[in-house]
Symmetry: C2
């Protein structure tokens, strides 16, 4: 396999090269020797090890070496380009309550915005400023000259056509901003007017059609910067960007289309002719009926859409008809992050579930229950006693450090430090209110042995055996220091459930029972955390 | 002159084509006939008039036709590329108080950020969250995963190297965001550490040097999208953008440079070699001592800089030294708008001053004072009586509708409606609290004639003459309706100063005396407005 030496070294994952906490690179590219070369390479057990000419050693999993490129979520590569008929059986939509309460539903909505460019939330409370809560459910509100939010209804002396009852052709918003807001939300509070329907057009699809039908026109629209302008008493915005943005590899990654705000191009006449011919052709494509998805927003609907891809439109409506939308802007990067984190959390829960069902069926260090039974019993005991969610989770997951084969090391007389190890794994997903008691549950055993005369006698045989490996009972100074730690009480509580969770054959709920609680803790939306 | 017909028509400024309120275009490009052509063209008195093949008529000032392109403020075209020696005599800086109080100082600071990429505010109160007030003085705070603001100081368990005492090489922030925040602010609250100095490098200059020295490397860095990644427990951001962004005309318009967050490129080996060679060369340029501007932030300093152009750095500092910065992000578009509006307001005040000094010296409709003397007297009378700023301004500017030659029309027996005309001109700059009394000051005369028996007798001869042209005294119904208008009292107050401001030879302050008051009213920062 031939590969770039600089590339390989730049991706070294050792703790000298990458901060273990943040994952950030610790060296600068210029710090690598100009004549960097591979001195020795060995490949074994799925690991490529390189000794570099400067003496540094790097290790790369073979699977990592051969991995393909991740698709760029922001280009056409990762999108589902559509026309209206693709939604003949319904729009991507969800109920607000389900979206709020169910991470899977939330992920589906955000994935629709990322893939198809839009999603519709139904049943969003028709309250003033509620649209901001929708935006904050996945990202950050982008304030503009229109304020934190804007009201779309008829205004007496409008500075923008959006605030009249006129029909508005498909367009993107705020083209005169740079950076342009990449997400728009429109929340319908009232729509009793005749007319005022909503339309959406996939601008990426329109651009892809232009590229297929008239490549030279496509090239013109990706090349020529168009000035977009907006001005009122307190604002004077101007941005020069092409109508179609492509990346360096030629992939479509943005559309900016708004005839109302197009300023004056100043180019040689031949370029103007080329631009206007291409602009006319592109405009005509955006108006093809096959591309126009039309629907009507009802009170409580909130449309969330990609403002650098989708063109939105509205039909004219009767001036005296009551129609009131509230809108705001946000950005795709935060939306994508929220979606990635939701997926990562779902994958983590899947992995935990798999552990419970796979490895977890193994013997639990000489006890009469399996590891999974032990932990499920501990979680169920905590739950039955009305413990707050973070302690139910800590009880359920306290022995996760035994997984991955290290549990057997403990039984061979070497402390695998399964409390800290488990806490470190869990810290990728849970806060200190969960990881703290997991980290300290072995220390809590040593503490209880010191302060409660009967405690040691009540331990199971196996647990009494491992106590020695783990350092034995604490002395008075250790016990006093432990008791003074902020998380001591939680750790002791988890320890007591741990000790009782060794009943052979006791029925427990399956792991899936705890998923919503774990998901809420991961998201920081579970109540009752005290640390 | 040869010019594109589509372009010309697309720029028609008639009220059918452009909304007179918003200046937005009212037609779509596809609505123009495909075979649009010029049927007739005539050019006279500096106006080109076109009769189009579809019967539409357009008029274009010749000066507009031949105007050049406005520079794009966001590309290298509008920038002053620099190296450290260019600031040997000092940094672009201003005192916070002067920045806050003086529009000219504020414009100078914002212009420095736009042109040179940075400016330093001194004496910003070292209060928690004050950095947000600085950002809001020219734009909107961009919230990120770090919060509305972030604290840069040593953290116990950092997810980002910024929060350690390590040295950090020149970089741009948040490269894993798209859109990336385009402005960064760093406000120094405390800096007693040994080390921890700040550095800036002009990334556009570095990119321009790369283009000059190694055009092929420059091309590679503008073409290849680089993945930037950031992940912590609640965040998973990824953006793929080139290190150097150019527009369709090849002009540099952005730099994104951050080795810490650079992810794994997946490209054919030849492309990787080309990329790494170019990346090394560019990195070496950014580190040239001649490019490194180094200085030390003192408590109260707030650095404002362009995060898509400037690379910032800091030297290492002693872990136990107290160093605390607060930072936040904002965007260049709002900054540019604020600057443009400040300049537009300054130009408007210049134009008013010129009117007072030029045309204003002309005879005032048969009175013994010039127009300028009359208006300055009215403004001075209002000020002497302690009137709120908006009424001083209204008194000063009430007859502005006479300017531009229309005053003489009134004397020829045709009402030039100088109240409404003046109000319309002023509405570009002032709110209704100023324009309202201007609009109504003639109506107030007709009202006072109706309700105060002695009022008519006190009018000057000329004013009594014009009363007839203006409609004569109001009848009872008109007077009652007028008195019920919300701005009636203000209009009457202005009217009374107007009537008294006709004293030949009375000394007045010059127009310049009123500029700060007018500037504050334009900015909406003057107290005392009541409407």
């Amino acid at each position: 396999m031939s590969m770039s030496a600089d590339w390989l070294r730049d991706n070294c994952g050792c703790p000298e090269c990458r901060d273990p906490h943040s994952g950030q690179k610790l060296f600068q590219i210029h710090e690598l020797p100009a004549d960097l070369a591979v001195a020795e390479r060995t490949e074994a057990d799925g690991i490529l090890e390189i000794l570099w000419s400067d003496g540094h050693r790097s290790r790369y999993p073979s699977a990592w070496l051969t991995a393909g490129a991740e698709p760029d979520d922001r280009t056409e590569q990762a999108k589902r380009l559509w026309q209206a008929a693709d939604f003949a059986h319904g729009l991507p939509e969800a109920d607000w309550q389900a979206y709020r309460d169910d991470p899977q539903e939330r992920a589906a909505v955000l994935a629709a915005v990322q893939r198809s460019g839009f999603a519709l939330l139904r049943g969003v409370p028709t309250a003033d400023r509620q649209v901001l809560a929708v935006a904050r459910s996945f990202g950050y509100v982008r304030e503009t000259n229109y304020g934190e939010l804007f009201d779309v209804r008829v205004e007496p002396d409008p500075t923008n056509l959006a605030f009249t009852s006129t029909a508005i052709a498909p367009h993107t918003d705020n083209p005169y901003r740079d950076p342009v807001p990449t997400v728009q939300l429109l929340h319908c509070l009232e729509n009793a007017a005749v007319g005022g329907d909503s339309g959406l057009v996939d601008g990426f699809r329109a651009a892809a059609l232009l590229r297929a039908e008239a490549p030279a026109d496509f090239a013109v629209l990706t090349r020529i910067p168009v000035p977009f302008v907006f001005r009122d008493r307190g604002t004077e915005l101007r941005a020069e960007r092409p109508l179609i943005e492509t990346d360096g590899l030629g992939r479509i990654r943005g559309v900016r289309f708004n005839n109302r705000s197009t300023g004056t191009l100043r180019l040689p006449a031949a370029d103007l002719d080329a631009f206007y011919a291409a602009y006319r052709r592109f405009a005509a494509i955006t108006l093809r009926p096959a591309l126009q998805l039309t629907f009507r927003l009802a009170p409580g609907d909130c449309l969330v859409f990609d403002n650098v891809r989708l063109l939105h439109a509205r039909t004219a409506f009767a001036q005296d008809g009551r129609r009131h939308l509230q809108g705001c802007y946000a950005d795709l990067d935060a939306l994508g992050s929220t979606l990635a984190v939701l997926r990562r959390r779902a994958a983590a829960l899947d992995a935990l579930e798999e552990m419970f069902e796979g490895e977890g069926a193994a013997e639990y260090l000489g006890e009469d229950v399996s590891m999974a039974e032990h932990m499920l019993q501990a979680g169920a005991l905590a739950e039955a006693e009305g413990a707050p969610p973070h302690l139910v989770a800590a009880a359920l997951l306290h022995d996760i450090g035994h997984f991955g084969g290290s549990g057997t090391e403990l039984m061979r007389g070497r402390d695998n430090r399964h409390g800290p190890a488990g806490a470190d794994v869990l810290a990728r997903w849970f806060g200190p209110e969960v990881t703290g008691p997991v980290r300290l549950h072995v220390a809590a055993k040593r503490y209880l042995c010191a302060v409660e005369p009967d405690y040691l006698a009540g331990l199971s045989e196996a647990s009494a055996y491992t106590l020695g490996v783990q350092g034995g009972p604490m002395d008075d100074a250790e016990a006093a220091a432990f008791a003074a730690r902020p998380g001591a009480a939680d750790a002791v509580a988890v320890r007591r459930w741990d000790d009782r969770a060794k009943t052979a054959g006791a029925p427990t709920p399956p792991f899936g029972h705890f998923r919503p609680l774990l998901a809420a803790l991961m998201a920081g939306t579970a109540g009752g955390a005290t640390m």
